[in-house]
Symmetry: C2
């Protein structure tokens, strides 16, 4: 790490060693990210710090073109340059990103048309048509099960876990999450469930095995579906779980419950109307459902860098936007829970395992891939910690569905822990 022992001037003025252009450009960084506690050093120069803030990190920028990228499109510029080693940061990457996110929340926002234009360009490239979605999902989920096995839990659950206490293991927390979802849905033996976006099948298998329901689970990732089918066969659950390699939009049949954990992020807001139509076609006015998704506290653009490098076609809605799915059908919103700190902790577990396997990841792909994924995981932790990202679980029921339990106390009944849920009689 270069430039980590230079002194910190207390003004937004590069001290020396810089050309006139560099002296004008460097301070602009704090215009876009706000007064982050970061000393910025360009090449072999002496660096610049924000006014009135003691720097806790140093960010080194290799050259003027990299600085220009950063100023034109801060997020993608940083992501690409850090991944390629043209930008380096001292200290803990996650803590650095968290500090920058917090600072950006304070910063004067740039012109809205500019970020909308940049974002629109990504939208066009990654449209979630039936074919576009297949391509978008393929990029991420067909990287190979061996890759995900390196850093996910043993059941390959790639969504926010639920930690009954902060000291629970990742494996315990993923099981607890699946139980939390099943309890919230008040699943009863013999019922039928449609799952949209089933990953490697852990939740579908858990529901069938522990709650006695029959599940039809959809996913357009072939690698995941093949893995899930194999597990169903091994567990002899083939008669109760059907894994279908198809788009959620082709879901057919009628069911008692609809569940989708971690798919809405991939749907794109232009398709929310269709999500609602699929749900209504599936459970009608009598069923109930649960949507589990990454959200935001206010409408905004989702990280372009993550969309470019990690999740093509992704969009993260505010809670209000997500409710557009349910309102046209008059679904009753029964329960919304925000699990934001749980996703930060889940990601900490993932990043910890990922870093322990970083050499393997580099060997499987290359060093740049490994850095991109490390940045994505660290950036997500920072986002959930700083609150730029939220995690919502929304439970809803049709206007003609039967009664739910009188209160939510059954979700927290210790006597029911690790057992299938049976309805409260009070």
């Amino acid at each position: 790490m270069q430039a980590s022992n230079v002194s910190f001037p207390d003004r937004v003025q590069p001290a020396g060693n810089y050309s006139w252009v560099e002296k004008r450009l460097l301070p602009l960084i704090f215009r876009s990210v706000g007064p982050a506690p970061v000393r910025v050093v360009l090449g072999n120069g002496t660096g610049v710090s924000p006014p009135n803030v003691a720097p806790r990190f140093t960010m080194w920028i290799r050259d003027l073109p990299t600085l220009a990228e950063l100023l034109i499109d801060p997020e993608t510029g940083f992501g690409d340059a850090w991944t390629e080693g043209r930008i380096q940061v001292t200290g803990d990457l996650t803590a650095f990103l968290e500090a920058v996110y917090a600072s950006m929340a304070e910063a004067t926002k740039g012109p809205g048309w500019y970020s909308r234009l940049l974002s629109k360009w990504t939208d066009v490239q990654q449209a979630n048509t039936l074919e576009g979605s297949r391509e978008n999902i393929h990029v991420h989920y067909n990287l190979g099960n061996d890759f995900y096995r390196l850093w996910l839990d043993s059941e390959l659950v790639y969504t926010c876990a639920y930690f009954p206490s902060a000291s629970a293991t990742l494996e315990e927390a993923q099981t607890a999450k699946m139980d939390h979802v099943c309890r919230k849905l008040r699943l009863q033996p013999g019922e039928t469930v449609a799952e949209a976006g089933c990953g490697w099948g852990a939740l579908a298998l858990h529901m069938a095995r522990n709650y006695g329901v029959r599940v039809k689970a959809f996913n357009i990732s072939r690698e995941q579906i093949l893995y899930a089918r194999q597990r169903a066969q091994e567990e002899d659950l083939n008669d109760r779980v059907e894994f279908i390699e198809d788009d959620y939009r082709n879901l057919s049949g009628t069911f008692d419950a609809f569940v989708s954990v971690g798919m809405l992020e991939h749907v794109g807001r232009e398709n929310y109307g269709e999500v609602g139509a699929v749900i209504h076609r599936t459970i009608g006015d009598r069923g109930r459902g649960l949507l589990h998704f990454i959200g935001r506290s206010e409408e905004g653009q989702f990280s372009r860098w993550i969309r470019k490098r990690i999740f093509p076609g992704a969009y993260v809605p505010s809670l209000r936007q997500a409710l557009q799915i349910l309102e046209p059908y008059g679904y009753f919103v029964q329960d919304v829970e925000n699990l934001r700190p749980h996703y930060a902790k889940t990601l900490e577990h993932w990043l910890d395992r990922f870093e322990k396997s970083s050499a393997k990841v580099s060997a499987m792909y290359d060093a740049e891939f490994e850095r991109a994924w490390r940045l994505y995981l660290a950036g997500s932790i920072a986002g959930f910690r700083a609150g730029t990202l939220q995690l919502f679980q929304v439970v809803f029921s049709g206007p003609k569905s039967g009664a739910l339990p009188w209160t939510r106390a059954d979700l927290y009944d210790k006597r029911r822990e690790n057992r299938a849920w049976t309805p409260a009689t009070s």
Copy 2:
């Protein structure tokens, strides 16, 4: 009750005794309310039933002008005519209204412009300016404490209760509601709370007495404020609770928490931006808050009859509409709970007590007033049962507020029941 022993023809055709005009008009009722299981009888005629539905109720309409009112503006027409005895209904009024609401949900809706026009006219008459609100609130809440004492619980809590079990008494359920609110807010001794719309002060006193907080409570109903102040004095809580006779929009000072139970319905959707501004001025980015309000599963007009006779200026938002209050400030929605069945049960208790005191109410006001209030209570039960009304509790926190407990389990911890909440340490 006239006409209760006539036979039911199975077509939408009045059988006889009717003029040509009446024969054309009567069947139109089922165009606006759908196939409700109701036999409709006009004057001394033989009546009409909907096709393919066995009538469970008979509605008697005194004369042609009353029928015309009902057809032009079904809701206000029914409300006024039933109140004045020009319409009568056999059997249980609540069950009748519930059946009609359920049927209306199935009915083909009339032209939207027509109901919007009718609704707009009421909006204009009842605008929630500072002065308009005072007038609107005066109409309802200054009817006299003696009136409300006849049918509310002993603490005069005029909002949805929370029944830990269906067999809880109204008094127990109102106390449980106040505890549920305080626990959701995670109140800590020494904290400060702003309450907007405090009714007769029960919640403010409960928070100060049982949770050790200091409360500033606002209300524009003089009768209620005077009563609340007296109670604070009697309980020697004057140093911890301040009751202020003023509009919530004049709320000043900074607080740890903001709470509003049953006020949003009176605010009017045109003022949601201002509600958000008041909240942000009060608790900033570090506080937390709870909104408890009657809502709907989809946007729509609120009952014009209730606005005319009972609650001038009222508006019932969908959850999405209510979130417009919080989103501009980036508040994190932590928890939404739908207490719809709890409000139906609360209202059943109120109606039961009201009916036992109906002679007293008639004596205090007059028979028409008594009928109007009976219809309002019965109609509200029907609305919550049928799902045209919902009850939402929304917990939110500022982007810089401290950590909340790891899960919601503390809300349901039996060991804490009937005791002040202390923070979980896990």
